[in-house]
Amino acid sequence: MPLYGTLDITQDSKRLPTLPNLDTEAWPLPRAEMMQLLIEVPRSSTDGLLPKAMHPALPSYVILAVTKYSDSPVGPFNLAVLRLGSRAGAHPRGFLLGAVASTDAAALELRARWGIPVEAGEVKFVRRHDRVMGTVKKDGRTILDCALVDPQPVSGSDVQYINWVTAANAPLDGTTQPILIQVDPKYTFHKAERGKAQVATFDPAAWNAPTLELANAIVGTCCTVDTDLPRIRFVMDPLKPVFQGTRRIRESRADE
């Protein structure tokens, strides 16, 4: 059978975000500008980063995304995330390793509503004529400096975004416990570009992935999308294979 992750999130549950409940209301996020860079990483550098319930992607890769949300229930904010390409059972997923939001309010809400391991910091999303740049600073130190270089128009139908999985403490069956949460935004594309992924600075420890090494860039995209952060529909036991440990806690959305 495929390989499994080795991370036991129950062993260090205090560092995980905690949700007061699983009744998170959805956030509509119109006209978001989303830069996403996909980069292969050595398999050995991902040891211990992926929960036991999930399968690693082969080859291992990460997704660095910097997004400008111009409208949200907590006002405009930028968000940078690092996700590890993986499989939840048969399905491609990006396991969230770390994130930085540009406002305290966004960081607080994203942690408490979807279990995103996010802290507040400085996140810039800057568009130039020949590139889109993302920079992230925490405590005055640059922890990410990346760009999509020479973007060229493509069709939104050429771009595939995979769903996310977060690890968090949340009440389930009367007990607050570490679980995995599926976050599955919808996307309506207004504009899509593809280009070369470039990373000048990346501090893996600042993204909760101290062993991670970036290797071969695959590709980068920047898209303008209407998206959302939806209600939570599926949660997973962090220690059982996903195909055995998944629970549906809410019916699918009306538009699905």
Binding site: L58, P59, A90, D158, R194, I218
Partner: protein, 368 residues
Amino acid sequence: MKFGLFYEISIPRPWTAEKERTVYNNCLEQVKLADALGFEHVWAVEHHFLEEYSHCSAPELFLTACAMITKNIKVGHGIVVCVPEFNHPIKIAEKTATLDILSGGRLHVGTGRSATWTELGGFGANPDTTKKSWDEFVRCLPKMWTQETFAYQGEFWSMPERTILPKPYQKPHPPMWVAVTSPGTEIDAADRGLGSLGLSFAGFDEQEKKIKEYRRRIRHCEPVGAFVNEQVATTNFLFCHEDEKTGVEMGKKLGNTFNYLATQLISTREVFSSPSYQSLGLLPALRRAATGPDASEQQTEGMAYGDPARIIRAIRKWESLGVDCVNFILNANEVVPQDQVMASLRLFAKEVMPHFAKKPHTAAAAAE
């Protein structure tokens, strides 16, 4: 209706020193039996880096071994990756001609372009251009096989005039096919006069549409080769057992395991946004089917597992849709013990094949 075997050569972890050899030997033993039983084809894929799912990176060597231990069964490259970073077209022409000679004219050549980032990225190939390079390759190969000398100036490769040797044993050249997974590739096959080597497990309705369109288009094709190879093959799982319930259970286990392994592959589209890979190929259907190795339910429409009567019904349906050949996957990760694979083949040949045979099958071999 013709029947074939289709090998991914799936090998479970841990990969001990003997395990890969054992699985390869199991496959050869199956091929030898299939030849005696009257199966028409043995196909072997070309895949690279696909852990557990397929350890068949040098299919021409496996197929040469198959040819050496068999008499009649046709050996099919299913498929040769027609992307220059994977295979130089001169080498494809030379190796396939050699295999055709060694097999006594039993070679079929499937062509394709790879669907996974795992493979394309591994060879440093650009996903945007694989369809174009495939098109160049399939137009060159017949000329390389048949012309005394050949020269070429193309977008993806070029060569000055040389004599490419040896020439295939079959005249004018071996039949050519193309792997059909993405929607629309059946049209590419038809327009070029190539056989449609279906590698998906789509249901009847979708396959029927594809086959109709293929048959319609191929009547007006401009063949890339010296002749039109109008054939439609599809892929299926085979587990034939006297008891229907036992057969279905083992067949589902085989199918679930194969599908689950397949869904672990990184489709090109998952990581590399490209108009050349708009479709996920067979993966969405597999994901719907593969809820996990212990899944109790799986799509079983048209699957060739169960008892002979059930399998005959399934194949009759495929036949009615216009399928010419069904190629069977016999195992995945060795979940079916070898003795049961062999028994399944024998029972299929004895109880199912006669219902689809134009001429008497080799009953003696089936009875062994």
